[in-house]
């Protein structure tokens, strides 16, 4: 019994070490690289430090800040739109049974199953025709394609375990429709809103292919910039941009983590 306990403890430690190696080590490498003028084998840390990359990023002619602004704008439009569409759709899927429900669920998952390149090409052709290519509006709409399945499924998971009785009670106590939504429904599903919003933001924020194709190279977001820098091969620039790319996501996770309860995570079980 004791031996077995010791072996599971050992296994747990090993798993933790592995996870931190895979997840944290690259981040540390990026952090060091972003400030390293020269860093050669066999030195464990850089020999010379510099703020050169950051000076460039913060300079008035910086393309990085502009790309970050674009990314924020698009994710900032996509997230509330996805919530606004995903909430009622997820509510309908989670609460009610109706003819063709399975089909709707399947269709919703399609963008996640079909290869992204195929989806993007198809979208690009049509968006060009409609004049939505090459601007941030078109890119935002395109981002909704991979984002919406996630938000809808999260909300349908939340509403699957939701009882209408609280709303009935509120109505019986004299609450009008908007008041029921504002004072009862929204607070009750707040964890779901946080999770769905987080997903929507992160999916939009890290979108490369759709932005590239629909934006026609005119909408420059952080991932677009990051990919071209990566091709350029300047470690200092790559690392600094990668940190800027990761930081908001991590920050968002930390903030929302506090808002989350176990209820929200149960909704994720359906994904």
């Amino acid at each position: 019994m004791a031996a077995r306990h010791r072996s599971t403890a050992w296994l747990r430690t090993l798993t933790l070490v592995f996870i931190s190696m895979v997840l944290v080590a690259p981040l540390i490498a990026f952090l060091l690289n972003a400030f390293a003028r020269s860093w050669f084998y066999p030195h464990l840390i850089p020999q010379q430090w510099t703020l050169e990359a950051w000076a460039r990023i913060l300079s008035p002619q910086s393309d990085v800040l502009q790309a970050m602004g674009n990314s924020l704008l698009i994710a900032g439009v996509v997230t509330p739109t996805a919530l606004l569409v995903g909430l009622p759709a997820g509510r309908a899927l989670g609460l009610y049974t109706f003819r063709g429900k399975r089909l709707v669920e399947f269709l919703l998952l399609l963008p996640a199953i079909v290869p992204p390149l195929a989806v993007s090409m198809g979208l690009a052709v049509n968006f060009l025709r409609w004049g939505l290519a090459g601007n941030w509006v078109g890119v935002s709409i395109a981002h909704l394609v991979p984002v919406l399945p996630y938000t809808i499924l999260i909300f349908s998971g939340i509403f699957n375990q939701y009882s209408l009785e609280h709303e009935q009670q509120a109505r019986a106590l004299g609450a009008k429709s908007w008041a029921v939504i504002w004072y009862v429904t929204l607070p009750l599903i707040k964890p779901g809103i946080v999770v769905a919003g987080l997903f929507a933001f992160l999916i939009s924020w890290s979108q490369y292919l759709l932005t590239l194709l629909i934006g026609s190279g005119r909408v420059i977001t952080l991932p677009i910039l990051l990919f071209s820098s990566a091709a350029g091969g300047n470690n200092l620039t790559i690392a600094a941009q990668a940190i800027l790319f990761t930081a908001p996501a991590l920050l968002l996770l930390l903030v929302t983590n506090r808002l989350l309860s176990t209820d929200a995570v149960s909704g994720l079980g359906r994904l």
Partner: protein, 346 residues
């Protein structure tokens, strides 16, 4: 103060063979507490939801003070239902929960605060206003739910199994509270319960339901001592039933002929008598008396329960304050004034 009339209410759920409610009519006097009593599946909660306006009846009409409310949505009926699982809003404090109805009516904050404080005092939880529902016990949550409903001064208060989630002493407290606030506000109150004791202790009138039909409506003692049929009698703890033939002013059964008030009975009937009304007697004068042997004597806490075997292996249950040891042979007396005849079901 609202008089509630239910007129030929029927409810058939989609795809169900038997109706949940079958042409049920009932008048609930203004300002009284009426218990809707029945086993689970008897349609009592369905009835409550129809009155509240949460379910639409398939047929029939609901009237408050003589005016049909059938087409009024729940928020305009002024009938507030307090659910068994209390349904407090988990993200609001106790004060916010109680004040919710007033806030929805646009009442000013200072008045809400004042009224909420009064309510908290009434439900005897004055210090818990700032807590969240999850930090309260089941009984406290139930009381908050009651206060939340009462604060809007509804025309009608509908309580769905208000006592069933509580343990014994909390039940007594909650029952007291319901009675106190009902008297305080004079609100017509309907209580759904499956527990005949709760119904007897709470209600001015009891409506006993069985498979979607009203079986009997009357005061608790009427249902107790003058049941409409054998089923009602059994629900209220009736155990002695003897079927027989009416013969003038008496009924002839397999164990003897008994004098009883006839109440218009004729032909075949069933004699019933409560076990505490039967007496062991020292010497018999013959009438309404049967000879039997005590098979079993069990102490029940306040009384002794005896199983007495009489002629033809017919058994009667007799309660008494003093024990009669098993094996004793003797006479038992069925006082005519305590015998009640119900119609024969066969």
């Amino acid at each position: 103060m609202t008089l509630v009339e239910l007129n030929q209410i029927s409810k058939r759920y989609h795809g169900e063979q038997t109706p949940a409610l079958d042409q049920l009519s009932l008048t609930i006097p203004s300002g009284t507490i009426v218990a809707i009593l029945g086993m689970s599946g008897s349609g009592k909660t369905t009835l409550l939801k129809i009155i509240a306006g949460l379910i639409e009846p398939s047929a029939g009409d609901v009237c408050f003070d003589g005016i049909s409310v059938k087409h009024l949505p729940t928020e305009q009926r002024g009938a507030i239902m307090v659910f068994q699982n209390h349904l407090l809003f988990p993200h609001m404090t106790v004060e916010q929960n109680i004040g919710f109805g007033l806030k929805m009516r646009g009442v000013s904050r200072s008045i809400i605060e004042e009224r909420v404080a009064t309510m908290l005092a009434l439900i005897q939880l004055p210090a818990l206003g700032k807590r969240k529902p999850a930090q309260l016990s089941g009984g406290q949550q139930q009381r908050v739910a009651l206060a939340r409903a009462l604060i809007v001064e509804p025309r009608l208060l509908l309580l769905d199994e208000p006592l069933s989630n509580l343990d014994a002493n909390l039940r007594d407290e909650m029952r007291e509270l319901i009675l106190r606030v009902q008297r305080h506000f004079g609100i017509t109150t309907l209580v759904v319960t499956h527990d005949q004791q709760d119904a007897v202790l709470l209600a001015d009138h009891i409506a006993l339901m069985s498979s979607g039909r009203l079986q009997q409506f009357g005061t608790p003692d009427a249902l107790f001592y003058r049941p409409a049929d054998e089923q009602v009698a059994r629900f209220f703890g009736g155990v002695n039933f003897l079927s027989g033939e009416i013969d003038q002013q008496s009924i002839r059964t397999s164990i003897g002929t008994f004098c009883a008030p006839m109440n218009g009975a004729s032909g075949r009937a069933v004699l019933t008598i409560r076990p505490e009304q039967i007496q062991f007697c020292e010497q018999s004068n013959g009438t309404n008396t049967v000879t039997g042997i005590v098979e079993h004597c069990q102490f029940m806490g306040i009384y002794y329960r005896h199983t007495v075997r009489t002629t033809n292996d017919t058994r009667l249950i007799v309660h008494s304050n003093t024990p009669v040891v098993a094996g004793t042979t003797g006479d038992i007396y069925l006082p005519p004034e305590h015998i009640w005849l119900v119609r024969s079901e066969a």
